[in-house]
């Protein structure tokens, strides 16, 4: 029955909260086709309707048109909701993962979504740069007020070399511990490279 493939799309999003399933090009195309099909049928039947009113003995297609129209609107709603909710998730990802997405997430995006992401990303970066006079403010890091300037962190992955803002280079190995200025490691904690150790 009509509306089923649109429902499958929504179901797919519902099953994966907090992540992006691969963009379902095939199903989106199917829903689009179904909408066109229903509209065409409605158009044809509305023409037939005019003649039958004139003759006063033909079939009345008005109920059919109403039912199909409900189907068109439903399909439209599902399609819009599918794209809207994906973009909403993508926006959250910009805040949580930072400007570079992991490759397996990137593979799940459609080309339009990739474009949107890079535009949003640069917009957000531009805004954050404009906040204060001296170089801007990173809004995506932890927003709790700090208690100490230096914190102890444990490295969770083999990250490789990391350059601090004073120019010195650190080698980040798995399970190594570092005592660093808080502002240097905020980003890496957020991205899950470091674990903050509180004693």
């Amino acid at each position: 029955m009509f509306g089923d493939s649109a429902y499958t799309l929504i179901k797919e999003l519902d099953r994966n909260p907090g992540t992006l399933p691969p963009y379902n090009n095939e199903l989106v195309g199917e829903v689009k086709k179904e909408i066109c099909h229903l509209v065409q049928q409605n158009h044809a039947d509305s023409m037939a309707n005019d003649e039958s009113i004139l003759g006063e003995n033909g079939t009345n297609y008005f109920p059919t048109i109403r039912a199909r129209h409900a189907g068109v609107q439903r399909n439209l709603r599902c399609l819009l909701a599918y794209h809207y909710n994906r973009v909403k998730c993508l926006r959250t990802m910009r805040w949580e993962f930072g400007s570079i997405l992991p490759p397996d997430i990137k593979a799940n995006l459609s080309s339009i979504e990739t474009n949107w992401f890079s535009k949003y990303s640069s917009m957000l970066a531009k805004y954050m740069r404009s906040i204060s006079e001296d170089g801007g403010l990173n809004l995506t890091v932890d927003l709790n007020p700090p208690k100490a300037l230096y914190i102890e962190v444990k490295c969770l992955v083999d990250y490789g070399q990391y350059e601090l803002s004073d120019g010195s280079v650190l080698l980040l190995k798995e399970n190594s511990r570092h005592f660093l200025p808080r502002n240097e490691c905020e980003d890496l904690i957020r991205q899950g490279v470091f674990q903050h150790i509180v004693t």
Binding site: K11, T59, R66, K147, Q191
Partner: protein
């Protein structure tokens, strides 16, 4: 999390789309040509008046209203007299998930089908009496992970957010110096990856 997510005005709400997919029993009042394929029981081209079909709410609602309704919607079974009596007797003991996974939300859609207003009263009564149970569950999450199975989707949402709030309060009380943490999505993404790797090893 916002509860207003699931309600009607939000056109993009996934929850609402899922609720309106639920089927309700409908009776056709007039002849609808060409839509016989909606009824899998017959090969006819048209739907005859008097046909009884289960239609999803999104289709049933618009075509049952207006000057010339095509169908009349019947109350779904979970909101009928017998089920209402069960809920009135003791709503807390009921497995609401079996009544319908979207009991409250669908109830809001079908409430106007009952002229006596009983459905609305029962919805309110059910929620009020079960809310204490829900509060209790969120505050004391024991070792039993199956408690969620008896809740409907709205209650589950409340349970999850209540539970998260409780956990945050707990950690804050224990030590106010909270460590900075990785973003929720990042953590989730890592967990998923680990599962993928395990799959690969098996192959």
């Amino acid at each position: 999390m916002s509860l207003s997510q699931s309600y009607k005005p939000n056109y993009f709400s996934i929850e609402d789309i899922l609720v309106t997919q639920e089927r309700v029993p409908c009776k056709f009042l007039i002849n609808v040509p060409k839509l016989g394929k909606l009824n899998p029981a017959t090969e006819d081209l048209d739907i005859k008046p008097g046909t009884i079909l289960e239609l999803p709410m999104w289709l049933a609602e618009p075509i049952s209203s207006g000057r010339q309704p095509l169908i009349s919607i019947d109350l779904p079974r979970s909101y009928k007299e017998t089920h209402r009596e069960i809920l009135k007797a003791d709503a807390v003991a009921v497995d609401l998930h079996k009544f319908g996974i979207n009991f409250y939300e669908l109830g809001l859609y079908v409430k106007h089908l009952d002229p006596t207003g009983e459905v609305l009263k029962v919805l309110l009564h059910t929620f009020q009496s079960r809310f204490r149970l829900l509060m209790d569950l969120t505050e004391n999450v024991g070792s039993d992970p199956t408690v969620q199975n008896r809740l409907d989707m709205l209650e589950r949402m409340l349970f999850k957010s209540g539970h998260a709030a409780r956990m945050r309060l707990d950690t804050w009380l224990r030590k106010s110096d909270l460590p900075m943490e990785a973003a929720a999505m990042v953590v989730n993404h890592k967990k998923r990856k680990r599962i993928d790797l395990e799959d690969l090893f098996k192959k």
